[in-house]
């Protein structure tokens, strides 16, 4: 296979970033659009061209550029590679990315810092593509940290809002905690395998025995998973994602729903060889996935901010993907990544369209009855709604089905928890849709439909949400990499999960359309529980109280004031003070009185004479 210039794929958005970032301030909006969209579309086109040239991709296509870090026997290059897993991710990233760029030209048209927004978005594309294309863990880490940075920049895009700044910082630092695990895993790999290249590492791992208990591979797998929990917002590091909704809505759609947050899943699937050697790590992954899925879904039920609902939904869906990885159905996980990218991007963009229509209103309690006023938005959101609820034959149904079947095969209880979660998912999304579009309008702003640049991409995504699951048979495509588990397709299990989804929709319809007063009654009945859930189990508060505040407090009151200024500097200054005191004592001798000096000299002479006497006596 000849050189495909893979580097062009991430480089084009980078060029777009540089042009817009350095010169964009003076550009008219149209030119900014051309640069930003052009670079991403070109990148998308290049991806398609590459696949066309590479054909079936039975084996990975690797391209090596130059050595990045070379020290001793360690040699890490800027190497990119494409295989089928990468291919899926590349299409999702560039495809959805292009759509969201188009959408953003409409959504952001009235915002200040227009060029800056697109520059950041292009930078994000660069890092995300680097993450996906990297042929070793370190290049992947470059993308990994880079998307975290872009997430930071875009969440904090509204620099005037303090909450945006806080959320951005939180996202970055929590991600850093995850990266800490990722980095440690890399160090262990280098120490034990001498390389970070995927091929070399996996070749070294493959012959190793499967570890039943703790061991090197378990440690590496778990540390990698720590990285994944940070990036993909899993328990216990999911707290940044709901706050990240401070960013502009296209960002939420692109970064915090469709692409970046799935990087953890991609990384887990990429390292499948390592995980497969450690059943313990796999169990941890699955259980964390289950906990996250349930917990986030319950919180999602109670939220009133439309974006927060979808954010918790994202967390919950990511939990699903990790369940898939944890039970060994990596291809099902990636399948869900793809379908989720379709319908969750659509949900967010649709929500953005609603927010745009209502002039910035995000609270569900101030919406209602909008289906007549913004019918297109309602139409596309409805597609996403059925897709996420798992209604066959739409996108969500296929991937969720795959996951649940695999879970049942691995451990039936996971299946049942998954079914309940699916029901809850259907419920809260339906709740959001009902509260938003049905009943009477409760707001004040005059709603207006979004421009075509916004609903155009929505329509494409709606189409994908409806038919994407059916046409893109991701597990089948990935079969050479992840052989399908010996699955017996059990119709009953499928029926049950579908029923759970429909039940969720039904209950939501009952509560929010037929009997609108009921939810408050129920909330009141479950008072304390409701409060606990509504306040997100007080996780943020617990983190603050248990980690952040003690850390800052101790640093300030003990380490700095006592330890540094008090003890260490005290010792230093104490030495100085002692010297001064002794000197002060000696200074009394220097009275400035010549006669007392003379007396001293005389006394000194006596001593010298005595010394002479002693020496001379000794000589004799």
């Amino acid at each position: 296979m000849q050189d495909q210039q893979l580097w062009l794929i991430p480089a084009l958005p980078l060029v777009g970033f540089l042009i817009n970032g350095l010169l964009g301030r003076r550009f008219p909006k149209a030119l900014v659009n051309v640069v930003a969209l052009g670079s991403v579309l070109f990148s998308f086109a290049w991806v398609l061209k590459t696949f066309n040239a590479l054909g079936g991709l039975e084996t990975a296509h690797v391209e090596r550029y130059f050595s990045w870090i070379q020290s001793g026997s360690l040699d890490i290059g800027f190497d990119l590679s494409v295989d089928r897993l990468t291919a899926v991710m590349l299409l999702v990233v560039t495809g959805i990315g292009s759509l969201i760029h188009i959408y953003a030209t409409g959504y952001m048209s009235h915002e200040g810092g227009y060029y800056r927004f697109f520059a950041y978005l292009n930078l994000f594309m660069f890092f995300m593509l680097t993450l996906v294309l990297g042929n070793n863990f370190l290049v992947m880490f470059v993308g990994w940290e880079g998307v975290g940075l872009c997430s930071y920049l875009l969440i904090g895009f509204y620099t005037l809002k303090k909450s945006a700044g806080d959320a951005a910082k939180k996202a970055f630092i929590v991600n850093r905690i995850g990266d800490f695990g990722f980095a440690l895993a890399m160090f262990l790999m280098v120490v034990n395998f001498g390389s970070l290249d995927f091929q070399k590492v996996f070749a070294a791992v493959k012959p190793m025995p499967v570890e039943q208990t703790a061991g090197l591979l378990t440690a590496i797998a778990l540390l990698l998973f720590v990285g994944a929990t940070g990036k993909s917002a899993q328990v216990p590091l999911y707290v940044w994602l709901p706050d990240a909704m401070e960013g502009p809505t296209p960002v939420s759609a692109l970064i915090h729903a469709a692409t970046m947050v799935t990087a953890g899943v991609y990384m887990t699937a990429r390292s499948a060889v390592i995980f497969q050697h450690s059943p313990m790590a796999m169990d941890v992954v699955a259980i964390v996935g289950v906990i996250t899925a349930v917990m986030a879904a319950t919180i999602g039920i109670t939220q009133f901010d439309i974006k927060k609902v979808f954010a918790y939904s994202t967390v919950s869906q990511l939990g699903y993907m990790f369940i898939a990885c944890g039970v060994g159905a990596f291809s099902a996980g990636i399948y869900h990544v793809v379908t989720h990218a379709f319908f969750k991007a659509l949900l967010f963009l649709g929500a953005g369209s609603v927010i745009h229509a209502l002039g910035g209103e995000q609270d569900l309690r101030h919406m209602g009855g909008l289906w007549k006023k913004i019918p297109i938005t309602f139409g596309v959101l409805a597609c996403a709604w059925v897709a996420i609820s798992g209604v066959p034959p739409f996108a969500g149904f296929y991937s969720k089905d795959e996951i649940l079947l695999a879970a049942h095969h691995h451990a039936p209880w996971m299946y049942w928890v998954g079914v309940v979660t699916a029901g809850m998912t259907a419920f809260y999304v339906s709740r959001a849709i009902f509260m938003c579009f049905f009943g009477d309008y409760r707001g004040h702003h005059h709603p207006h439909e979004s421009p075509v640049s916004m609903w155009g991409p929505l329509a494409v995504l709606a189409l994908l949400s409806l038919a994407g699951g059916m046409y893109f048979k991701v597990p089948h495509y990935l079969e050479p990499m992840f052989p399908a588990a010996e699955g017996h397709h059990d119709e009953t299990l499928v029926m049950i999960s579908v029923a759970a989804g429909l039940l969720g929709i039904g209950i939501a319809a009952l509560l929010y359309v037929v009997r609108p007063g009921l939810p408050d009654t129920i909330a009141a009945a479950f008072g304390p529980v409701y409060k606990l859930v509504y306040n997100k189990y007080f996780v943020d508060e617990i983190y603050d109280a248990a980690i952040v505040n003690p850390l800052v407090g101790t640093s300030r009151s003990f380490l700095w004031r006592v330890m540094d200024a008090g003890i260490i500097d005290g010792i230093v200054n104490g030495t100085g003070f002692a010297a001064k005191t002794i000197g002060g004592g000696l200074r009394l001798l220097q009275s400035g009185n010549i006669r007392s000096y003379a007396a001293w000299v005389t006394a000194g002479c006596v001593l010298v004479l005595l010394a002479i006497g002693v020496v001379a006596g000794g000589v004799r």
């Binding site: 870090i69 850390l551 100085g576």
Partner: protein
């Protein structure tokens, strides 16, 4: 005359020439200094040629007698370890001049003259191959820095300057004693000769002597680094120093300590170094986390950056005492990248100070609205400082952590906590300073970055990216020099095996 001698001589000539400039003519003085320092930088670029070409070896050696008795030689040379530090010095001097352009109004002639003298001393430290010469340069650096802090500093400048001076002197006196001891034993001050004597075993030190000598050198260097708990002079010195002083202090002067550790402590006393390594690593690790935690709560920008230096330089010490190629390469790389990133941070803080005359973080907020480019430059520097990949600090930190992981993964885990915390304090600083709403008064006093400031920033930004991506420029020569140092610090272990076995047969 070799190029190195020229590079070394120019700042001294510039210093002397500066003294004869008319006292009143500020424009002439600063322009003269700028041109001189730029010329030095351009000439010093030539020094890199053999390293880019071949990558290893010692170049530009001059070895002539200086003082007959005791025999002290003017022995200078350049290897992969020194060359980049020299370049760092020559790069940051013109930047310091640019930064001081409007800021220094009091006694400008002396200020700029001292800057050139400082450059001379710093370069000398990095190229001296004679221990006595090294010591002389080491002390020369002290004088201009003392005056830079003491004359052009802020309110508590005298306290800070004296503290700086005494701290450093305390260490260097120990080092002088050790140097003299070595001279008495080996009858030479020449580093190469001494190393040869020590390695061949002709100059045999008892393990206790070696330990004491190692500690004498190490304490001198550790104070300069500064290693926890010898660091308390640094925040004071930085807060009080003028911007140019802070830049030179953080970016280059601290590297004297780490350079000394790598150059002298490891190869000359390998056994003692290995014996002490666990303790030193423990201090380095504490320093990394401690510095980061204390930086987290600083209300003063310069103090914050100063404590972050304590944290970052802990990595350098950690890497050096990992005794492997990755760790040592990382340590040296981290020295350079810390020089660039922290130098830039101090410079930017200086820019902010010039505008509002405050270093307190609470006096800022929302600066990015009136000064978007300044905040962009600051953000890039911040990101470099927190070790974002593709920017300079990442490479160094990665290699250091990799090196320490090869020894003990728990060290790495502990040190990596510092990386997390660095994101915390730097981003918090950025948020509190640049994000949010700006007051009208702040907006009024906050013009965006000017041409002169941009000229000082851009080279640093470019270097941050360059050093983060194309490490091939720097790393091979550093690696080669480090490989030799590692080799030197290994051979003596064999010697000791021989000695303890009491056999004259070669062991390996």
């Amino acid at each position: 005359m070799s190029l190195l001698n020229l590079v070394l001589l120019l700042p001294l000539l510039g210093f002397l020439a500066c003294l004869f400039l008319p006292k009143k003519n500020l424009g002439l003085i600063r322009m003269f200094t700028l041109l001189v320092s730029l010329a030095i930088f351009v000439v010093s670029l030539g020094l890199t040629a053999p390293f880019l070409d071949k990558g290893n070896g010692t170049w530009f050696v001059t070895d002539v007698p200086w003082i007959q008795s005791p025999e002290i030689r003017y022995h200078v040379g350049l290897d992969g370890l020194s060359v980049w530090l020299v370049l760092l010095t020559t790069l940051l001097t013109p930047i310091s001049v640019l930064v001081s352009w409007n800021y220094i109004a009091k006694r400008p002639k002396e200020f700029y003259a001292f800057l050139l003298l400082l450059e001379f001393g710093l370069m000398g430290v990095f190229v001296a191959w004679d221990l006595f010469l090294f010591y002389v340069f080491w002390e020369i650096c002290l004088v201009p820095m003392y005056f830079l802090i003491g004359v052009w500093g802020h309110e508590r400048r005298i306290y800070a300057a004296v503290k700086f001076f005494l701290y450093t002197m305390a260490g260097s006196v120990l080092m002088l004693a050790a140097i003299i001891f070595l001279y008495v034993k080996g009858n030479t001050f020449d580093y190469i000769n001494l190393l040869e004597l020590l390695q061949s075993g002709r100059l045999a030190l008892t393990s206790q002597e070696q330990l004491l000598l190692f500690l004498a050198f190490f304490v001198a260097f550790a104070i300069k680094v500064p290693l926890f708990p010898l660091h308390t002079w640094l925040p004071d010195a930085h807060v009080e120093a003028p911007t140019a002083g802070s830049i030179m202090l953080a970016a280059v002067m601290l590297k004297m300590g780490t350079y000394g550790i790598v150059r002298f402590c490891l190869p000359m006393f390998p056994n003692a170094a290995r014996e002490c390594a666990p303790w030193i690593v423990a201090l380095a690790l504490i320093g990394i986390v401690y510095g980061a935690l204390v930086a987290l709560v600083q209300p003063n920008m310069k103090k914050l950056v100063a404590y972050s230096s304590v944290s970052h330089l802990g990595f350098v010490v950690l890497g050096a005492f990992s005794f492997n190629q990755n760790g040592l390469d990382g340590a040296v790389y981290q020295m350079l990248s810390h020089g660039i990133s922290t130098g830039a941070l101090f410079m930017l803080v200086g820019f902010l100070y010039e505008r509002t005359h405050s270093l307190e973080i609470k006096d800022y907020g929302g600066v990015s609205t009136p000064a978007p480019w300044l905040s962009t430059v600051f953000l890039i520097t911040t990101l470099a400082s927190v070790g974002l990949p593709l920017l300079c600090n990442f490479v160094g930190e990665f290699l250091v952590l990799q090196g320490s992981a090869a020894v003990n993964i728990y060290w790495t885990a502990f040190a990596a906590l510092g990386v997390i915390l660095s994101a915390g304090y730097m981003l918090w600083l950025y948020q509190r300073t640049f994000m949010g709403e700006a007051t009208d008064e702040l907006k009024h006093h906050m013009p965006d970055i000017g041409a002169r400031e941009l000229a000082a920033s851009i080279p640093l930004i470019i270097l941050m990216v360059w050093m983060g991506t194309y490490t091939k420029t720097f790393l091979p020569s550093i690696s080669a020099a480090n490989a030799r140092i590692l080799e030197q610090s290994k051979t003596r272990v064999e010697m000791r095996v021989q000695a303890t076995a009491g056999e004259s047969v070669h062991v390996r």
